[in-house]
């Protein structure tokens, strides 16, 4: 039993990471209607930026905040310079462009900081809380709290603010959004900025755990996309819940189902994607829309 609880807690810890990246994917999807495949690499790049600020002598929290702000600005610039010229093209074109961004950020990080794995300074104290035989590191609780705050904030923004309403409107129907006077391009830029800031937070909180290298988000991205699809691409809470479920299920399956072990763990999210698409294509908490004409 204790082993089971321990596995669940560890699963929640890895799941929090998947959820954070999934949240960024959901944010871009909900505010621009686009799936950004480069989200993980952008998060990795932001983590490197934070590492660089720290290496220049800033405290790690200050470095993190600066990197998040830089990512916000960078995200808006990226939308303006690279995404806007292609946003009216076919979906495939845009997806290929985000794939290009994926490669670009990966190589850029490798070019600037090299491929040798770097340690990232911890943001939370390294204590471990013991409850009986179950041990939970404070850092895991910290990341989980960050996740809850960000997901809650995001959901409230979408639901209760005017800019949230505008973001959803633009994602669903650009032409009607223009016809009610929403400055669509500004909203799209803001959406990218916020998603990059969120991605940066994800990268920075993940980095102490995964260590820093250009490929660190590679696996995480697959899990995050799985979480976004599983939870519902348009639902922040769905993405968080799904990320946590994937983390836990993966951990349990790896330990209890003999043939999966640690080598075939990656099959767990893929299996969940297939099952979701088969039985509930809109995801756990996603919305299904019926349109009558």
């Amino acid at each position: 039993m204790e082993r089971f609880i321990q596995l669940v807690f560890d699963g929640i810890a890895t799941g929090s990471i998947y959820s954070l990246v999934a949240l960024a994917i959901v944010l871009i999807y909900r505010s621009t209607g686009l799936k950004n495949l480069a989200q993980g690499e952008m998060a990795m790049f932001s983590a490197f930026v934070a590492w660089q600020f720290h290496a220049w002598g800033l405290g790690i929290w200050l470095a993190a905040v600066l990197a998040i702000i830089a990512s916000f600005i960078g995200g808006m610039a990226l939308q303006r310079v690279i995404i806007r010229p292609v946003q009216d093209k076919s979906l495939l074109t845009v997806v290929i462009v985000t794939l290009g961004l994926f490669l670009a950020f990966n190589s850029l990080a490798g070019g600037i900081w090299g491929y040798i794995i770097k340690a990232f300074p911890p943001l939370f104290p390294s204590n471990v809380i013991s409850m009986g035989a179950v041990r939970v590191p404070v850092a895991n609780i910290g990341v989980f709290m960050v996740l809850v705050v960000l997901a809650g904030g995001l959901a409230m923004m979408f639901k209760f603010t005017k800019i949230g309403l505008a973001m959803r409107a633009v994602a669903y129907n650009m032409e009607t959004s223009k016809l009610v006077g929403i400055r669509v391009n500004n909203v799209l830029m803001l959406g990218w900025g916020l998603a990059c800031a969120l991605g940066a937070a994800a990268g920075i909180f993940v980095a102490p755990k995964l260590f820093l290298d250009p490929f660190m988000m590679f696996g995480v991205l697959i899990y995050a996309i799985a979480a976004a699809a599983f939870g519902g691409l348009d639902s922040p809470f769905g993405a968080v819940l799904a990320g946590l479920i994937i983390g836990v299920v993966e951990n349990l399956a790896g330990s209890y189902i003999g043939f999966i072990g640690s080598d075939l763990k990656i099959l767990v999210p893929l299996f969940l994607i297939v099952v979701t698409l088969l039985f509930r294509p809109q995801g756990l908490l996603g919305h299904k829309y019926v349109v009558r004409v």
Binding site: S177, K178, L179, R183
Partner: protein, 236 residues
């Protein structure tokens, strides 16, 4: 001075010219209707007014030139547009559609009052206020599209074939509602229609568009009596 004055308006999609220099004016507080067959350029005329196609010539609205301005800027001058095929956000609830319609307004109390007014005007929408717009019937969606456009408290509303795809009884209701909106709220309207008879009944001005040119204009009665118009659009 007219609220809207269009002079020598030329619009094209790429190399294909759709409007060949049309002129017309819409007086404040009136309902103007543009009749014309498919492909005459009716939709293009409205899209030009909303800044959604590139065009040349002059569109003066309320004292300012609209040509060269973005759709968002034109909308902010209180020109509402109900496009063909409804123009609501189908994933949004009725409430959210009305809220987003009032996006450019800052007066929260006024918005709340207007929302109540819309529900009085369209009681069916109140019954369905938390339902997704896409799940409404065609007639209800058109009502919602109109209410959404009115939420910005527009000076001019452009309607693109509001009767398209609706049952005859509902079309009659729709035009009654449009007339009511015009008389009660004093909103100026420019309606593009194929359903000439009903449209002419509520209009004070009429224009007939044929392959990108205005071939007849004047008060609805005389336009309605015009032989060519009767043959082409009224069927008798």
């Amino acid at each position: 001075m007219s609220l809207l004055t269009v002079e020598n308006l030329v619009a094209s999609y790429g190399a294909v010219r759709v409007l060949h220099g049309i002129d017309f004016a819409v007086e404040e507080g009136q309902v103007a209707v543009v009749l014309g067959a498919n492909g005459a350029g009716k939709t293009t005329t409205l899209r030009a007014l909303s800044g959604m196609v590139s065009c040349k010539g002059s569109i003066r609205f309320d004292g300012t030139e609209l040509i060269g301005r973005s759709t968002e800027d034109i909308v902010r001058r209180r020109v509402a547009h109900v496009p063909q095929g409804r123009g609501t956000i189908s994933q949004f609830t009725v409430d959210e559609n009305l809220q987003v319609g009032a996006y450019i307004r800052k007066d929260r109390d006024g918005v709340r009052d207007d929302m109540e007014r819309m529900f009085r005007l369209f009681p069916r929408l109140q019954e369905r206020r938390s339902q997704a717009a896409g799940s409404l019937s065609g007639g209800e969606q058109q009502m919602l599209a109109i209410a959404r456009a009115l939420m910005m408290s527009p000076k001019l509303v452009l309607f693109d074939e509001p009767s398209l795809g609706l049952a005859p009884l509902i079309v009659r209701d729709l035009f009654d509602t449009l007339r009511q909106i015009n008389t009660e709220l004093g909103v100026t309207m420019l309606i593009v229609e194929q359903n000439a008879q009903l449209a002419l009944e509520i209009a004070q001005q009429a224009f007939v568009l044929e392959t990108g040119e205005i071939v007849a204009s004047g008060d609805p009665e005389s336009v309605g009596k015009d032989d060519a118009v009767r043959r082409a659009y009224l069927g008798h």
